[in-house]
């Protein structure tokens, strides 16, 4: 396992800027999650590190060594592709064994058998080992593609939305399993996802990407509690952070154009009147959709609330996040 450092990485595809001057260190043994919408440069970052694409400028260091001239095989990294990329002419077993048989590893036969069986067990695909890769469901293909990475002991695991097409149960199982593997092996992982639960529960660090720029990098709690911008604040939190005009409530600091309110920033019971538009009972939580002067916000309330649409409640912001007109955080 190794530390991976990106220094001033830029990449364009024609006029389309994919990455702009990204610098980031993935510490040895860390679990780094890249967050951002489609097109933010998450997958491109993984492809740069793996060596499948070359950056236009900048350097990539693995344990301090510049790997710019190394082929993907020489970099010894495992990657889980978003589109699975299983070898259709091989069985599930042979797909899992494929990296172990490579000229880079040349694993002995009995060790291949042991590792494949072990990984198949973890991913609950032992009963499918003799199937052709094409005879699997989407979720099974995805697990095989995770398995093809896990059989190895690479410098770093690169995973591109590896849990996206699994059902909820399997997804939460594998989330825990991946985190356990990473922690017990001391593996370094760079992980791309849309799913903020994955980001919050698994990551030691989160990198927030916006149109090819790395806007914030830090532990999940820091990103959540101390976002640098409206954009970064919007990546985490469910329900999503409410962005409202600063003058809606009294006491906003000078220069603030917007305030951001997460549910925990909203105290119910006193303050400004808000009308209840909708009440969503989700079981473990109850979401209150409110409107103040035609500005909508969502907050959480007591699961057994008796509030109903049309009611009026009073709310007060507590230590809200303040942003300037450009969306940057004011501290």
């Amino acid at each position: 396992m190794a530390e991976v450092t990106l220094r001033n990485i830029s990449k364009s595809f024609g006029p389309q800027v994919a990455l702009a001057d990204v610098s980031m260190t993935v510490p040895d043994g860390s679990f780094v999650v890249l967050l951002g919408p489609t097109g933010a440069g998450k997958t491109t970052t993984l492809r740069m590190i793996s060596g499948l694409d070359r950056p236009d400028s900048g350097t990539i260091l693995v344990d301090g060594t510049d790997v710019g001239a190394h082929s993907p095989a020489e970099r010894n990294m495992a990657m889980v592709f978003q589109q699975y990329s299983l070898y259709p002419h091989l069985s599930v077993h042979d797909n899992l064994a494929f990296p172990l048989k490579s000229p880079m590893l040349r694993t002995p036969r009995d060790e291949i058998a042991r590792k494949v069986a072990e990984v198949a067990e973890i991913l609950q695909i032992s009963h499918k080992l003799d199937n052709k890769a094409t005879e699997l469901s989407g979720g099974e293909m995805q697990r095989v593609s995770i398995g093809r990475a896990l059989v190895r002991d690479p410098q770093i695991y690169l995973m591109d939305e590896p849990l996206s097409s699994l059902d909820a149960k399997l997804r939460s199982d594998l989330r825990i399993e991946l985190k356990r593997i990473q922690a017990s092996m001391g593996a370094t992982l760079l992980y791309v996802t849309h799913d903020q639960i994955e980001a919050m529960t698994m990551a030691t660090h989160i990198g927030v990407l916006d149109e090819g720029r790395l806007v914030q990098f830090g532990p999940p709690r820091e990103i959540y509690e101390n976002p640098v911008s409206i954009y970064a604040a919007s990546r985490l939190g469910s329900p999503k952070i409410n962005i409202l005009p600063a003058d809606l409530f009294p006491g906003a600091p000078a220069g603030a154009a917007h305030i951001g309110l997460r549910p925990e920033h909203i105290r119910l019971g006193e303050g400004i009147e808000a009308r209840v538009k909708r009440v969503e009972h989700l079981g473990d939580q109850t979401r209150l959709h409110l409107t103040i002067n035609n500005h909508d916000l969502i907050t959480l309330t007591d699961p057994h609330t008796t509030d109903k649409p049309g009611d009026t409640v009073k709310i007060t912001p507590q230590t809200p996040l303040c942003f300037d007109a450009g969306g940057d955080r004011i501290k």
């Binding site: 499948l52 082929s71 095989a73 589109q83 699975y84 990329s85 299983l86 002419h89 880079m104």
Partner: protein, 313 residues
């Protein structure tokens, strides 16, 4: 399913379809059956009018195909010892004596060497070129591809004279190597274009996965791309072999002795001792067999079709 539905054809439609297919099959196969049947007729039956559908089978055509014979007179018949083998007996019955083997076997062997040799080379170079055109950023790629295709825009025989002169200079006249190179050159454009189409259909993701899994580009090519291109390679190989196997004009022009293939040889059988149609038909029948075997062997790759892969679109 929404938007459209496919209705099961009625019994009547199935019957009509079956009759049409069988009719088509019979029309296509009729000349073939006629050739095969003629090979087993006696020379008299072969030219009988009206043509005989039922006849007494004879191996005379096959014996004549593989032997050269001298005509013997009634008087000589008496003095000769009785024929030692069944084929000598057949020859004797038609008033001839076997003088030695014909050159059919050797011509046939030439066809096998040249046909399969040029097919192998066409596929070998065609696959490499198609892969490069499909995957790499080749300068003036489109122009090169068009140039390759343009070599097929005229009939190959149009360049026969330059090739003839070239071959004479290079000492390739009437050699197996010369014919292999020529057929490879003619087939290569077809092979490159067909195979490029097949390789284009194989997603790049598989190779990328193999690169990550610790393989070099070339290893990824033969471990991941080649197995998936099997369908394309098989069908291209069949096309190449059929062309090289049946080619007549160049073979007549550029081979005469040692490297002559079967197609120009078979018609020459006619001239030996009258119009020997059964021998010609026998030669044609045997000539069909290798291509048929080759096609049947590769058929499972053709029928398997494109594997809809394990890549999410």
């Amino acid at each position: 399913m929404s938007g459209f539905s496919v209705t099961e054809p009625s019994n009547r439609q199935k019957w009509i379809a079956a009759v049409l297919v069988i009719l088509y099959a019979l029309i296509t196969i009729a000349p073939l059956l006629w050739i095969i049947a003629t090979g087993f007729k006696s020379p008299e039956d072969a030219i009988a009018y009206p043509p005989k559908v039922l006849f007494e089978p004879s191996l005379e055509g096959y014996v004549n195909l593989f032997t050269t014979r001298t005509r013997i007179t009634e008087g000589m018949q008496q003095t000769l010892p009785p024929p030692a083998t069944w084929y000598q007996q057949i020859a004797r019955d038609s008033g001839t004596m076997i003088a030695g083997p014909s050159r059919y076997g050797q011509r046939f062997l030439n066809s096998v060497v040249i046909g399969f040799g040029s097919t192998f080379l066409s596929i070998f170079f065609g696959t490499l070129a198609a892969y490069a055109f499909s995957r790499f950023r080749v300068p003036i790629k489109d122009d090169l591809l068009f140039f390759i295709l343009s070599t097929r825009m005229m009939p190959p025989i149009a360049v026969a004279i330059p090739i003839f002169l070239m071959f004479r200079q290079l000492g390739l006249n009437d050699t197996q190597l010369g014919m292999i190179l020529l057929y490879t050159a003619v087939n290569l454009s077809l092979a490159v274009w067909l195979l490029k189409g097949f390789i284009d259909e194989i997603p790049l993701e598989y190779e990328e996965a193999a690169l990550i899994d610790g393989y070099t580009r070339f290893q990824a090519f033969y471990k991941v791309v080649l197995p998936q291109a099997a369908t394309g390679i098989a069908s291209t190989a069949i096309f190449c072999l059929i062309f090289a196997w049946n080619e007549y004009a160049f073979a007549v022009l550029l081979t005469s002795g040692t490297a002559q293939t079967a197609p120009p040889f078979i018609p020459t059988i006619i001239g030996v001792g009258g119009q020997d149609w059964p021998a010609v038909a026998a030669g044609a029948t045997l000539f069909l067999i290798p291509v048929m075997i080759f096609t049947i062997l590769l058929r499972k790759h053709l029928l398997r079709g494109i594997t809809f892969g394990a890549v999410r679109k």
